[in-house]
């Protein structure tokens, strides 16, 4: 008995659990986007599994009427890997936070990425530890004053996408909680990727780090200071699409179309599937300051998928020793009989 997937609706993915995030939390918007995208993926409902760690964001599975596993702090990618390796037909999504995924769980994250296990990893980056009531996180900016850094934090933050690319990620993308159409489109792209898809989602924590992403999500900023990446298109931005990113001596510079004869042609045409991830890495580093922030799919390359490799090794071994029985196994090696 397989659920008719074509008839699935958003509300099929809403669980009966009361949602317990703070009113105004960006997590609501992400939940809504995910619930809207899942019915469109053509996957039977019972084949979705959401695996999370610990944090506000990690309460996500409770609100999704799918299989779900609220694991322990930082370990969701590892739990999800075991699940995916043994049940490759499932659609396994990992929900994590900037603390869960990059602080305690950083190692599992980078290893999952390098192995290219077919998981969809959504990192809700609010640049703070929400659940433990407001300590700085590995993505908090230097100088941030929090409960645990009363005179300002000293730790240089990670750029999550750079970490992912450094680890060898085959799909990295970035979106924003409140940019619903963009977020949904990005989630769909992630769902379609064969290997590990890593999506950083800027998420507002209105209680402990309100407006952390206003430089991207403010009304003005969203049209002026964001470069929305379209594969195969030049990197243009600004309300009038009159600014662009051009390479000069291997590095990006901001140019204005028309000035000094610059045309859209001069701006880098984005290729998400380049073999060398260095340009995606460079683009990931642009986040505020003199440069626009890049949103969308920065990298998407085909690469061998880990669980398929596992399965095919097993299949081919089964074929070559196909009829091995338990009896054979037990009675293998040097045996002798005592009469």
């Amino acid at each position: 008995m397989v659920t008719e997937t074509t008839t699935l609706k958003k509300k099929d993915f809403q669980s009966d659990q009361e949602v317990r995030w703070c009113p105004g939390c960006g997590d609501y918007a992400i939940l809504s986007a995910v619930q809207a995208v899942f019915p469109e993926l053509g996957i039977p409902k019972e084949n979705f599994v959401i695996v999370s760690g610990i944090g506000c964001s990690s309460r996500f599975p409770y609100y999704m009427n799918t299989y779900g596993f609220h694991t322990i702090h930082g370990r969701a990618p590892a739990v999800a890997t075991g699940l995916k390796l043994t049940r490759p037909e499932l659609s396994v999504w990992v929900v994590t936070g900037d603390g869960d995924g990059l602080s305690i769980g950083g190692n599992h994250l980078i290893h999952t990425l390098r192995r290219n296990v077919g998981l969809k990893i959504l990192m809700f980056n609010n640049r703070i530890y929400g659940l433990t009531k407001g300590q700085y996180s590995p993505t908090s900016e230097v100088g941030k004053r929090t409960k645990s850094s009363p005179v300002g934090s000293l730790d240089a933050p990670f750029s999550p996408l750079s970490v992912a690319l450094g680890a060898g990620a085959t799909f990295v993308a970035r979106s924003v909680d409140v940019f619903q159409p963009h977020l949904k489109a990005t989630l769909k792209r992630a769902a379609e990727h064969e290997g590990t898809a890593f999506v950083e989602i800027y998420q507002n924590c209105n209680i402990f780090n309100d407006k952390a992403f206003s430089y991207v999500s403010d009304k003005e900023a969203r049209s002026e200071d964001v470069v929305y990446i379209e594969n195969g298109e030049p990197l243009l931005f600004g309300r009038e699409k009159n600014k662009g990113l051009r390479l000069s001596d291997g590095e990006f510079e901001v140019v204005t179309l028309g000035e000094g004869g610059v045309t859209a042609e001069d701006c880098l045409k984005w290729d998400e599937a380049r073999k060398n991830p260095a340009l995606a890495f460079q683009l990931a580093q642009l986040d505020g300051g003199d440069f626009p922030t890049a949103l969308g799919v920065l990298r998407c390359v085909d690469a061998p998928n880990y669980e398929q490799g596992v399965i095919s090794q097993i299949r081919s071994e089964e074929e070559s020793h196909g009829d091995a029985t338990l009896q054979d196994l037990l009675y293998s090696g040097d045996t002798w009989e005592v009469g």
């Binding site: 008995m1 397989v2 659920t3 669980s15 659990q17 039977p44 409902k45 019972e46 084949n47 599994v49 695996v51 610990i54 599975p61 409770y62 009427n65 799918t66 299989y67 779900g68 596993f69 609220h70 694991t71 322990i72 370990r75 590892a78 739990v79 999800a80 890997t81 075991g82 699940l83 995916k84 390796l85 043994t86 049940r87 037909e89 499932l90 190692n107 599992h108 290893h111 596992v310 090794q313 097993i314 071994e317 089964e318 070559s320 020793h321 196909g322 091995a324 338990l326 009896q327 196994l329 037990l330 009675y331 293998s332 090696g333 040097d334 045996t335 002798w336 009989e337 005592v338 009469g339």
Partner: protein
């Protein structure tokens, strides 16, 4: 070895007499480059095929390649062969092969008085003597007077045997272990054919290497025959073992095969999430070779990922296993509690080694019992099963799987470095005699809730992703019973803590009572667990044959204890618990039954000898 002289060969003047002995202990010791493990294994295989009972004890250096010639670089392999049912690789060798001064220095203290000592004199030059810390050459003073010393220029003779072969001297040198093996085969009247066959097979693609090794093996044998090295040769009759098909097996191998067997018997695919660590790594290696049995092995980035991946696999419906040793177990403890809270089956194999901290990685110990009992936050009981011999690892694995899947709970299987690397002949079981471990997943929607329970076992239903209509969420927060919803309710928490304990406690109804070997009551009971079985059995048998009032009992289940354990303990005046730790089982027994059990601790990174337990029994009876 107790001997019985037979005049078999009286023709040649100095020809050795042949004695029939019931039991002999041989130790091969040399530099780690000397191939002692291989030599020992060959001697073992040959003896197994001859039909002896046997037990082995390999000893590796801590380093991969410790500096040549040093004490730290000594690699040894002890094997005991007998014409009757034995239990340990023996306390002290009857025969020692020392390939260099360091090997001699390290082992000579163990050799029995008047034991046979074979030394490779070629290696007793100044540099090696110095490395081993000898001021004077022990072959030249009278420090070895207590032994029957046989000096042989093994290296020289090896090269001589290969004189005509076109091999480099490194390759020639490498076969000198075969010379020693040939000598020992001669001494103990073993056939050399098995080894010849094995060499031909192993070096099928390097015929010259095979040939060289065989030449040297024969040279060793011939050297003895020609020079009449030994005044006495020995014979060991086949043991009167139970009829059946046998193979020689190491503990880690038995454990691996046991897991595969459990996978087949349960119908669940086997998933191993592991991170290499001595002495558990071999299980990962072996299982990685069983892909044809549908086994998937995942070498994770660390122990936490290893156990976590196994938990994910269990959630998905696999037979999920993780393997490690003490320090790795410490890292897994948080995640084991996640399996406990989500009530998922998980097999945690802990192959114990010397600790604490990095400790003595290559040495044995059984000091993680309390860690597996209590090394997790809050009240979090899990069943604990301990293997007691190399072949018992097979059955312990099946039992761990049975408990985990029937009770939906993580189970710890304890083994240790001694039985993991030690070997013994194993009478192979009939497949049909193995327990039926079939598991049914929940598929029925009607009435399903994630924490609904089997009223008898208290196991919750196992409903796996992909099953339509059973979508549900699990996690590490406290759960409301039956519904599985997150619950902060005080009464529910109290209920659930007790329920989780009760579930484990009820397993006592489902395991065999502990058996007393000897009298059912009396002066002294020796209570053991895990790998001390062999030494305890040997010691108690001997004590009883001397007429001492002592019995023994051995625990396979450490949590819960068999139901009759309290009764058994109370029937004895004194209880001795030999443990390779400071008294971990002893503490549990005392707390549970308020009996004055006394630990007999030995924490030397090596197993108990029969003799020391025997002495402790005698002292206890006197004291």
């Amino acid at each position: 070895m107790s001997t019985e002289t037979k005049e078999k060969d009286t023709q040649a003047k100095a020809a050795p007499t042949v004695e029939s002995v019931d039991d002999v202990v041989v130790r091969f010791a040399g530099d780690s480059g000397d191939g002692m493990q291989l030599t020992g294994t060959q001697f073992t295989s040959t003896s197994a095929l001859v039909g002896n009972d046997l037990a082995t004890l390999p000893e590796f250096p801590a380093e991969i390649r410790a500096p040549q010639g040093t004490l730290a670089g000594v690699s040894a392999f002890q094997v005991r062969i007998a014409d009757y049912d034995i239990h340990t690789p023996g306390d002290a060798p009857d025969c020692l092969v020392a390939m260099n001064p360091a090997a001699l220095k390290k082992s000579i203290g163990d050799l029995k008085q008047n034991g046979v000592l074979i030394v490779n004199t070629d290696e007793f030059h100044d540099r090696n003597l110095k490395k081993a810390g000898y001021e004077v050459n022990p072959l030249e003073d009278d420090s070895l007077a207590a032994y029957r010393v046989h000096k042989a220029d093994i290296t020289t003779m090896t090269f001589r045997a290969l004189d005509e072969m076109d091999l480099d001297s490194k390759a020639k040198n490498r076969s000198r272990n075969m010379f020693a093996l040939g000598m020992v085969y001669y001494l103990f009247s073993r056939p050399i054919e098995t080894t010849i066959e094995w060499l031909n097979q192993k070096f099928a693609k390097k015929a010259d290497i095979a040939e060289a090794n065989i030449k040297v093996l024969k040279a060793g044998w011939n050297f003895c025959e020609i020079t009449q090295q030994f005044q006495v040769r020995y014979e060991i009759e086949p043991a009167k073992l139970q009829a059946g098909v046998y193979r020689n097996i190491m503990g880690n191998s038995a454990l691996s095969i046991g897991l595969v067997a459990a996978s087949r018997r349960s119908g669940l695919p086997l998933f191993l999430g592991s991170y290499p660590i001595t002495p558990a790594s071999d299980i990962l290696h072996e299982l990685a070779g069983y892909k044809s049995f549908g086994v998937s092995t995942f070498q994770a980035e660390d122990e936490i990922a290893a156990v976590s991946s196994a938990i994910g696999a269990a959630f998905g419906g696999a037979l999920a296993v993780t393997t490690t040793s003490g320090p790795g177990l410490a890292l897994k403890s948080e995640a084991i509690n996640l399996a406990l809270m989500t009530e998922l089956p998980l097999i945690v194999c802990n192959i114990q080694r010397g600790g604490p901290s990095t400790g003595l990685p290559t040495k044995t110990e059984q000091a993680d019992l309390l860690q597996v009992m209590f090394g997790r936050n809050s009240d979090s009981p899990v069943p604990v099963v301990a293997a007691s011999s190399p072949s018992d690892c097979f059955f312990a694995a099946l039992e761990a799987v049975r408990l985990a899947t029937q009770y939906m709970v993580p189970v710890v299987l304890l083994s240790d470095g001694y039985i993991a690397n030690g070997s013994e002949p194993w009478r192979l079981p009939e497949i049909e005699s193995l327990p039926d471990l079939r598991v049914e997943f929940r598929t029925e929607k009607e009435g399903f809730t994630p924490y609904m329970r089997n009223p008898e076992t208290l196991a919750r239903a196992w409903a796996i992703p992909g099953t339509p209509g059973l979508e549900h969420r699990v996690g590490g927060l406290e759960k409301e019973d039956v519904t599985g919803n997150v619950s902060y309710d005080p009464a529910n928490h109290d209920h659930m803590v007790r329920l989780r304990a009760d579930k484990v406690r009820r397993i006592a109804n489902d395991i065999p009572p502990v058996e007393v070997v000897g009298s059912e009551s009396g002066k002294v009971l020796v209570l053991g667990w895990g790998s001390t079985l062999g030494a305890i059995t040997g010691a108690v048998n001997e004590a009883r044959s001397k007429g001492l009032d002592v019995s023994r009992a051995h625990l396979k289940h450490l949590n819960p204890f068999p139901k009759n354990l309290g009764d058994v303990l109370r029937r004895f005046e004194k209880i001795i618990v030999p443990e390779m730790n400071l008294g971990q089982l002893t503490m549990l027994i005392r707390a549970e039954y308020l009996v004055d059990a006394q630990v007999f601790s030995k924490i030397e990174g090596k197993p108990f000898g029969r003799q020391e337990i025997l002495e402790r029994i005698e002292q206890t009876l006197e004291g």
